[in-house]
Point group: D2
Chain length 306, copies 4
């Protein structure tokens, strides 16, 4: 039974994601994304589950930066989790009594309409996570009257759900990934995704276009690009790329070897099955058999057998 | 004397930026980036100053999303402000007494080494902003012993600086922009930057490459690209672009008209002098006189005068 | 009634093309392509009809070089003429008697199978043109027994057709163009072609890719590219381009103005209706209304009206 | 001692090229380029020397088409030969007596200024080759008074040189290649050229751009591109490419394997030392060691060793 660290405390959306990714795993809640990943790195856990991006809030930059700068870890699974917010309070609290609400800034953003309409006079205070907000609200002397968090957090901390699904949009999704220390990759399934971090060798005009061309010329479709600062001043960035396919695919291998040749550093973050099961359209001339046949043709040409 | 809204309270780095951008302006502190921008939109202020990105933390996503989705505003100036953090406390406090520190998460990240070394046992709690942390610490009954914030915040709130420049890096910089309601643009200076938001018409493979080609074919160099979720599910993004040049430049005008033609929506966010004063290298054939001469040539060709 | 020069003598395929392009024109046969074009340049004729390329033989390089280096002329029409070769001889000659055949080298190539099969022992001699061969064979003391030429040439010179359609392929086509001195262009029809000559400014790696990108980024499809030596040594070339659309089309105008800016010299050779009547697929964002709308949008943006 | 076929008769520029490429070879003159190449194919000769392009006239299309359509041969050497034309006549002839000149059309073009100036009244007749013209003129009853050909042709056929170096340009060069039946390739020298023929799979807009991108993305510089008709009608072309580097180079191998994957057919025509000894500039990330290192990196990544 594997032991998986996650962004806790108990009751976070991340815990929910972990339960779906590996229902039988032992769960190790950690205070921060960094702590969860470090537990996986140190061997305290066999892996970790952390959020990577949200369909409203965007990238979880702590996760991106940990993947780019910390000790290497490999993503081996992803999950898309619909995110539904609940208004949670200590038993006995009623909505008109709520003067102070505690929750994560992302939840403030995503529940803006509900808050304006139903809690127009409440002060809303930023918490480090939605589950931490629920935990704080559960304390008897808490200065907060309610938390906005996942329903699961209410169950954990003995809170009552005063309202459910209070987000402005009902289709908000968070993408979580499961990582572990480097080791054998998941098999290619035909519906895979690969994630990379790329640092430029020298930041010349056209460098990004060159990187994208390494993908496009081999028919590899990007699904996400994020720029992040290198820390060396405004205007210096590195890039996270998600793209279709598995590094075992010939077209993907050649594309990332190309990036490795022209860029300063390429850090491979894993190839893993897509959560949405979508299979890529393979552009003419870029399938594995076509690469293999071209390799045989080239070997003959080099031997002068034409 | 213009009245400029900014991300307050008094004592924030943003206030410092505003004072440098317009020393004589009347200053209107606002609780959030959104509130500051709304003050500019509504006419409560003549403009606003907000942070756009930080060389360690990356983009200020609230600002990006406000610019993309809110009522239009135009950037008319930018400023690069070195960010130095101070450890601030109520008079009489000494470092060994500090058990609870309050500051913004970005400051936690950027002062990690100092905190580990000098305050190894302190609990560090996330605040909505560094100035809010200073304000909170200044209250007599505050549960926090110290704040990490800009020195200016200490002066505002009557705190003592126990340690200065405690960031892990001494070269951290935040980029601020000054915006106002749409109106005449700043004149081109020869060292300008332009900022755009681009929404895709349909998210096909290669769409990003096509957008970058609209720039590169006219010799326009990108200086920043940020992807942000459209809100329509994981995998759907729009883009912020910064690039060299002024929209009055022929090459820039043709490039963004090209984007406008092929993309779903292009929102212009302003052309303004670069804070670093760097002039772009003009690629052969892309200067204004060369565009003008080509236009005259084309007119003759169309008239059959060859 | 216009007077049109053409590559003669009477009986050439070019004469046939001229008759189809302008049945009522007065015809002025000339000894060479250059002479026909010079007649148009000098005013001896109102225009000229010359071959540009053949579906087997390829480009007529004399025509290409005349268009590139000679006094400017503009193409105003094109014609695709199926080319059928006949074996022609003086009355009384029978195939078994034929020992010496006279014809243009292109006809030798295109009738190779017939010659091998039916005239295996004949000596085949290269003539300057197929019509010249017919003319020569028509002379009483000619050393040649037969010519391979257009049937029309036989009629002109009193020869008998011993065999018709003797080409290896029955679908051979020659493309002819009608040119005149510079003046108003033919109207755009929606199915047009434009022809250009482009000289590089400096022959750097990637120069050709850059030129093609000027077309592709505006959705302009090339239909022909020919490289020709500049005369300045092996490895130095200039280019002929044919592409879809009329120079009055916004996308075509912007593309060729772009070429004009980045290249050494662009010589416009005309926009004219396509002989095949094929209308181009207009790529999203590249139609005239889309260009016009983008221009209006840009004007507003530049005025700060966003 | 190898036996090499060449475009004869004796006295052609091709013979001169053959002597320079292989001074000790036995020489087999052939009537046409095709005949010379067929001698090499059939084993009648060990190889052949033929012209490929001229710095004034452009490509020798017969050679291009033979290489594309005939039984495969491989280029193993190239030579750049300055072409100097002489006016040759039978002993006793003087320039004022010359009424009829016989020579190849290319020579007519290249000696136009001399002919206009010195032989304004002479009739100039097209011959199949310059050497054939010299041979014809050497016959006692020839209707021609002089030939324009290589000096060597005069020596062969007993003609007197009345004027030397009469070309309009003194820097005209013809490029010759030596071919043989497929077999081991010449070793890479660091200054090599590779020649290919490429047929499109389907002639879609952008196909040429895609082909060029396969080269550019691997840093392979084109030195020549020629389009030739496929024979399937106007508007259908295939391409000859010359580019820097040897097929044994990793970047070249990957580029042509890429072409092989996306195109209908790629025919390799050889890798051989450049006549001009120019070494290519190797773009960052495209040297053999960089390819090898990237391959090792990829193998580790695929094994999960990051």
């Amino acid at each position: 039974m594997p032991r998986l660290a996650y962004l806790g405390p108990e009751g976070t959306f991340t815990e929910e994601a972990l339960r779906l990714l590996d229902p039988t795993a032992e769960r190790l809640p950690c205070a921060t994304v960094s702590a969860a990943l470090n537990a996986a790195r140190s061997g305290d856990a066999d892996g970790a589950v952390v959020p990577l991006e949200n369909s409203i809030e965007g990238a979880i930059t702590t996760t991106l930066d940990e993947f780019a700068w910390g000790e290497p870890l490999l993503i081996n699974a992803e999950l898309l989790l619909p995110v539904q917010f609940s208004l949670l309070a200590r038993p006995g609290t009623e909505i008109p009594h709520i003067k102070r609400v505690y929750t994560h800034p992302a939840a403030i953003t995503q529940c803006r309409a509900y808050i304006s309409r139903e809690l127009p006079d409440a002060v809303v205070v930023a918490a480090p996570s939605t589950a931490a907000a629920a935990q704080e609200v559960s304390l008897p002397g808490s200065p907060y009257d309610a938390a906005i968090a996942a329903r699961i957090a209410g169950e954990h901390y003995g809170l009552v759900e005063l309202a459910g699904d209070i987000g402005d949009r009902s289709d908000t999704v968070t993408r979580f990934v499961k990582v572990s220390r480097p080791g054998p990759l998941p098999e290619a399934t035909g519906s895979d995704r690969t994630t990379l971090v790329v640092f430029l060798a020298d930041d010349h005009p056209g460098a990004l276009l060159e990187m994208l061309t390494e993908f496009s010329v081999r028919g590899v479709n990007l699904t996400r690009i994020e720029s992040r600062p290198t820390g060396d001043g405004i205007g210096r960035y590195f890039f996270h790329f998600d793209f279709e396919g598995h590094v075992a695919d010939a077209r993907v291998g050649e594309a990332i070897a190309g990036l490795h040749r022209i860029c300063g550093e390429v850090r491979f973050l894993g190839s893993y099955p897509r959560a949405d099961g979508v299979a890529p359209q393979i552009k003419r001339g870029t399938s594995d058999p076509e690469f293999a046949e071209a390799g045989e043709w080239l070997a003959k040409v080099r031997a002068g057998q034409v």
